[in-house]
């Protein structure tokens, strides 16, 4: 029964057995050109890579989609973004949930959000690191006036090597 097993055939065709310098056990020193690949260890390694990638696939709570032209500032000590109303600032223009709006409309839209949604609301502010505070401050003021009490400044997670 064991004569036909996969393990036995692997042992029989095992390339290193012939190449042993101390006590070669192959077919009387005849080296085989047949290369038998052991897939089991390879699959083990692949499975570990798949599990690692699945675990690091991404934060499910992360609802922030950063456009390519926004270079976020870096911070070592940061929190999870989580849920929130996103206001972006790109080149002096303001975007409310990816739709461009005037600065004068920001407060009205934020008040609408506060009135329609229940529970603790937070305002996620997404801006380029070169943005002046002059452009950022109206959003904080508008959020405060609307009733937001938690502001989340989107940052890139840094490993502390700055």
């Amino acid at each position: 029964m064991l004569e036909r097993s996969y393990l036995k055939s692997q042992m029989r065709n095992w390339g290193l057995k012939n190449q042993s310098t101390l006590k070669p056990k192959g077919d009387s020193g005849k080296r085989t050109l047949m290369f038998s690949l052991t897939l089991t260890s390879l699959i083990d390694a692949f499975t570990i890579i798949v599990i690692y990638l699945l675990v690091n696939f991404g934060n499910p709570n992360q609802n922030l989609k950063v456009n390519g032209n926004i270079d976020l500032p870096q911070a070592v000590k940061n929190d999870e973004v989580g849920e929130g109303t996103v206001v972006s600032i790109k080149d002096g223009r303001y975007f409310f949930e990816d739709k461009e709006i005037n600065l004068s409309d920001v407060t009205r839209r934020l008040v609408q959000v506060i009135q329609t949604k229940t529970g603790d609301q937070s305002l996620v502010i997404e801006a380029d690191k070169t943005t002046d505070y002059q452009a950022l401050s109206p959003i904080i003021l508008a959020g405060s006036q609307a009733g937001f009490h938690q502001f989340k400044f989107a940052v890139l997670q840094s490993g502390g090597t700055r």
Partner: protein, 155 residues
């Protein structure tokens, strides 16, 4: 009629690993292409809405950090006293490019926090020309030091 030898099935099971290998390769390719390598976090700031009155509440030690346009940072300690210190530090910026000298700021904040361990509140006071990166950086330094509640003052 079936003999005993013919009816005896081989109990060795050989799994064909090549399809498993293919599937895993496809999974790895898909995950490598779609995984988010850049992790986005947030710097959370709780702003007071002014609903509660200040009467009867004990003022906790706080540090106010003013970011001046020439790279100068002024640290002002409120509601706490440190021996042999007036409560205000004026930290000069880099003379060459008028940027903030972060090493000095970090060391000074750490020294203040060591002197006042109960210091948990900070307020960042930027100017209109303060950069977002600088604001986030000083908030980051404060939080790394142990100051948990960091606020920001609107213009």
């Amino acid at each position: 009629m079936m003999t005993a030898k013919q009816g005896k099935k081989d109990l060795n099971f050989e799994l064909n690993l090549l399809p498993v290998f293919d599937i895993l390769s496809c999974c790895i390719c898909f995950l490598l292409m779609t995984v988010a390598w850049i992790q986005i976090g947030s710097m959370n700031v709780n702003q007071a809405l002014g609903a509660k009155g200040q009467a009867g509440t004990e003022n906790a030690p706080a540090i106010w950090a003013y970011l001046n346009p020439n790279g100068q940072v002024v640290l002002n300690l409120k509601n706490a006293k440190v021996a042999n210190w007036a409560g205000e530090s004026i930290l000069p910026g880099n003379a060459s490019d008028k940027s903030i000298s972060w090493n000095i700021v970090s060391q000074r904040i750490q020294a203040i926090h060591n002197a006042v361990p109960e210091l948990k509140t900070a307020l960042v006071m930027p100017t209109s020309k303060s950069g977002y990166q600088d604001i986030v950086h000083i908030m980051d330094i404060l939080r790394q030091t142990g100051v948990a509640d960091v606020g920001i003052s609107p213009l």
